[in-house]
């Protein structure tokens, strides 16, 4: 099993695909041991981020209406959510897109599909939670 943090983090998963939301939630809860909430669109994500103040947000890129990058920019513009680290999850393959997303200021860009047994560890490493893990 992947490493587990010494304390549960609250992560907001934003994806317009219900199946992916559910699988990601299950992954982060069962493998990472985190506390997970989900949102199906960017607008809901903004409201939940303000309300829940999660430790991190996993944000899908391609969503109808407010897409991932636009949602991220609004999070950054809001002082109450600007400091929440954001990781983008994308099924787009183009390296140019990924470079553009990183340039926006997100912590990292992860590709879909992902390995559920490794995803929590990768998220923790990218967000600097590694020192807090027990290595188990």
């Amino acid at each position: 099993m992947a490493s587990r943090p010494d304390r549960a983090r609250r992560i907001l998963v934003v994806d317009d695909d219900a199946s992916i939301r559910e699988v990601t939630r299950m992954t982060l809860e069962m493998v990472g041991g985190h506390e997970v909430s989900t949102a199906g669109c960017g607008r809901d994500a903004l409201a939940q981020a303000v309300r829940e103040r999660p430790d991190a947000i996993l944000l899908d890129v391609m969503m109808p209406g407010l897409d991932g990058p636009a949602t991220f920019e609004r999070l950054q513009a809001d002082p109450s959510t600007a400091d929440i680290p954001v990781i983008l999850l994308t099924a787009k393959l183009q390296a140019t897109d990924q470079a553009r997303f990183v340039a926006l200021g997100v912590r990292a860009v992860l590709s879909k599909p992902f390995d559920p047994m490794k995803l929590p560890g990768e998220v923790a490493g990218l967000l600097g939670w590694r020192e807090a893990t027990d290595g188990g």
């Binding site: 199946s19 992916i20 699988v23 099924a91 599909p113 559920p116």
Partner: protein, 727 residues
């Protein structure tokens, strides 16, 4: 004349042939491998080396025994005769060797070798019968000597043919040269022969044959030079030089003989020396690397102006002599007539070529322009006008850089042309390249072009064939976007499948059977979704690429509507949606399977987005020559700004809804492709929260043709033409 002097001439020539064939030939022999396999065949053939050595010995002996060359007494005639024959024989063998060993120009060298053999034969016959001098004016030897000119002239003609296509202009150029040179010859040689003639007609003709032969050779050499002999390589250039020196030497020799000033072994013999030296060098020179085929010499060819200059010189000489020379006047007049004829045919051929070229360019599908090295546009076709907005009248004379190139490209263009003119580097020349140019209305457009540099009589120019690739670029962009979208859409269900199966395989759900079952269900649902999506993508691609052959048959629109409703009834019942069918029936020619798929797609869409308890209507009616199919629902509708997008691939008003309901985002795109393939039109009307009305039309081709019962039965065997109740 020639018969009486050739023996002396031969004595003078002999050693220099050997010299030419050996010493200089050896010096000019190319290194093995320097010019490819043909040159390897030229390197150190032992027999030729032996002959060369013999030639050197002959040269040495002659020089020692012929102090007459340096102001002392001449070498005795008998000894010189045999030296001459030996050297001529060596020359013939060397040229023959060249013809035998080297494939290129074999005929030319063979002819020269034959000419040399004639020369040797004539000398030998004359020497044997008359002991080297004192023979009659006309003898058997003259036959060989005169025969010498025929292969020589033929060899020159071959080289001219290699340098330029033989056209009427070339023939006239040669005639002009003969007339011009002949008029000079007439003033000094021919007239003297005519005046001094006192023997038989045969003797007169024989005597006249030599200067005439020299005249023809000189004219051919002139034409060879004018046709660009230097372009063919070193061998031909040297050969042309040989003939030129030969002709000049013979002419001067003839003059000296008439004036009784010729001294065998004197300075004039150097002419033949040079001739033989050059022939030796030419025989040793590697074959021409390539043949440059030129067009028939144009008005700017050297032949005409050079001939004209000679003719003018001849006229000046007549004026100086102050006597009327009928032969010279006749030749001059003939040259002038030929010159006029030459101009006429050349001008006509140019006009015809121009007309033909313009026709080709004007009817070409691709834009074409030409411009000079300075950038001034000189030609512009109709396709270019259509593509770039400039008419020929507007654009010819303008600068290509200022007219077409964006500011950022101008410096690069200047460097490109400059580099080509300086170094002839053709880095982008004669290649298909893509650049951006500016349309007359100011918008930039991508083009594909090929630039071909050409060398004209007026300097460098560039011919450019272009093609507007705006549409192609758009298609490429659309294709790239489509691939990116397809990739994204395929990876989305794969993410769920990979994630759920990964969790199951990782064992983290072993203690939670309910969660494990849920993950299995997600994997299964997304697998089905993936299968549907791949199927839809392939189906859409087949329809749009035309690989699906539509099978047009007479069919009843009403039956199709009822069949589609029957197909979708289980889904409607599951969703709690009522299906109402309202058709009026009409016959149409269509592919019933494809129309049925269109209707089921629309019905499926309507059912998925209809709230439980609502109704979906499907029907058709005949409006003049068009059948209108309709599918109405009471769903939440489509925002007005999305109405045009819903038929695009993967276009979703709200993708979360679409995915939750198992849509692939391709159903409406498939509907549009099918309808458009049938020559119909599809659209949707909707307002927010007012439901949707999808409609499509199909043209009615055979309204009076009844449907066959077998066909309709196969389509919808158990139709119940009533409304389907809500479950």
């Amino acid at each position: 004349m020639k018969s009486s002097v050739v023996a002396d001439l031969g004595v003078a020539r002999a050693p220099f042939l050997a010299q030419a064939s050996t010493a200089l030939g050896r010096l000019r022999r190319p290194a093995a491998g320097q010019h490819g396999s043909e040159n390897a065949r030229l390197s150190r053939p032992s027999g030729v080396d032996a002959l060369t050595a013999l030639g050197l010995v002959l040269v040495a002996v002659y020089v020692v025994r012929a102090p007459g060359h340096w102001g002392g007494p001449r070498v005795d005639a008998f000894f010189a005769k045999w030296l001459y024959d030996a050297a001529a024989a060596i020359g013939a063998v060397l040229c023959g060797w060249r013809a035998f060993r080297v494939r290129e120009d074999r005929a030319t060298w063979s002819l020269i070798a034959v000419a040399f053999v004639f020369e040797v034969a004539g000398n030998s016959v004359y020497a044997v019968r008359y002991g080297g001098s004192g023979g009659p004016v006309l003898s058997v030897a003259d036959g060989f000597w005169i025969a010498f000119y025929l292969p020589m002239a033929a060899a020159l003609v071959l080289r001219i043919r290699a340098a330029a296509s033989v056209a009427g202009a070339v023939v006239f150029d040669i005639l002009i040269a003969i007339g011009a040179l002949g008029s000079v010859s007439a003033a000094f040689v021919l007239q003297a022969i005519v005046a001094g003639h006192g023997g038989s007609v045969a003797e007169f003709v024989t005597t006249l044959s030599y200067p005439v032969g020299d005249l023809v050779l000189a004219a051919l050499v002139l034409q060879l030079a004018a046709a660009g002999a230097w372009r063919l390589g070193r061998a031909t250039a040297l050969m042309a030089g040989c003939f030129l020196v030969w002709g000049v030497t013979d002419s001067v020799y003839a003059l000296q003989m008439i004036n009784a000033t010729y001294v065998p072994g004197g300075v004039l013999d150097l002419g033949w020396v040079i001739t033989f030296v050059l022939f030796g060098v030419a025989a040793w020179t590697p074959p021409d690397a390539r043949i440059i085929l030129r067009q028939a010499p144009g008005l700017g060819s050297l032949g005409v102006p050079v001939s004209f200059a000679v003719l003018a010189l001849a006229i000046l000489i007549y004026a100086g002599v102050g006597e009327v020379n009928l032969v010279a006047v006749g030749l001059s007049a003939g040259a002038l007539v030929c010159m006029i004829a030459r101009f006429v045919i050349t001008f006509r051929s140019h006009l015809m070529a121009l007309a033909s070229t313009r026709l080709v360019l004007e009817t070409a599908y691709d834009p074409f322009m030409s411009f000079e090295a300075s950038g001034v546009i000189t030609d512009w076709n109709a396709a270019a006008q259509a593509s770039f907005g400039w008419s020929r009248e507007d654009v010819v004379g303008r600068n290509v850089v200022e007219t077409f190139l964006p500011d950022v490209r101008r410096e690069a263009y200047a460097q490109l042309i400059g580099r080509f003119l300086d170094t002839r580097e053709e880095d982008v020349m004669r290649k298909r390249i893509e650049r951006t140019v500016v349309h007359r209305d100011g918008h930039e457009m991508p083009i594909e072009l090929t630039i071909s540099p050409v060398e004209t009589e007026y300097g460098h120019a560039f011919h450019v064939f272009m093609r507007d690739i705006t549409q192609r670029r758009a298609v490429e962009r659309a294709k790239d976007e489509f691939v990116a979208i397809v990739s994204h859409e395929l990876r989305t269900p794969l993410t769920s499948i990979r994630g759920s199966l990964g969790l199951l395989a990782g064992g983290v759900l072993s203690a939670s059977p309910a969660k494990a079952d849920r993950m299995l269900k997600i994997a299964l649902e997304n697998t089905d979704r993936l299968v549907r999506m791949v199927s839809d993508i392939l189906n859409l691609e087949r329809i749009e690429s035309g690989t699906v052959d539509l099978t047009y048959r007479p069919c009843d629109a009403g039956q199709l509507v009822r069949a589609a409703a029957e197909t979708m009834r289980p889904a409607a019942m599951l969703a709690g949606v009522a299906l109402d069918v309202a058709d009026h029936g009409a016959m149409l020619d269509a592919d019933p399977d494809q129309i049925l798929q269109t209707l089921t797609n629309l019905l499926s869409n309507a059912i998925k987005f209809s709230p439980e308890g609502s109704t979906v209507w499907v029907g058709c009616e005949l409006l003049e020559d068009t059948i209108v199919f309709q599918v109405l629902d009471e769903g939440r509708g489509i925002p007005s700004d999305q109405l045009d997008r819903v038929f695009e691939r993967f276009a979703q008003v709200d993708s979360s809804d679409a995915r939750d309901k198992g849509g692939t985002g391709l159903g409406l795109a498939i509907c549009r492709s099918i309808v458009e393939q049938h020559g119909g039109r599809i659209w949707v009307e909707s307002g927010d929260a007012e439901g949707c009305r999808f409609q499509f039309t199909l043209p009615v081709v055979c309204t009076d043709r009844p449907a066959t019962s077998a066909h309709i039965g196969a389509l919808a065997p158990d139709l119940d033409p009533v409304s389907f109740g809500r479950t």
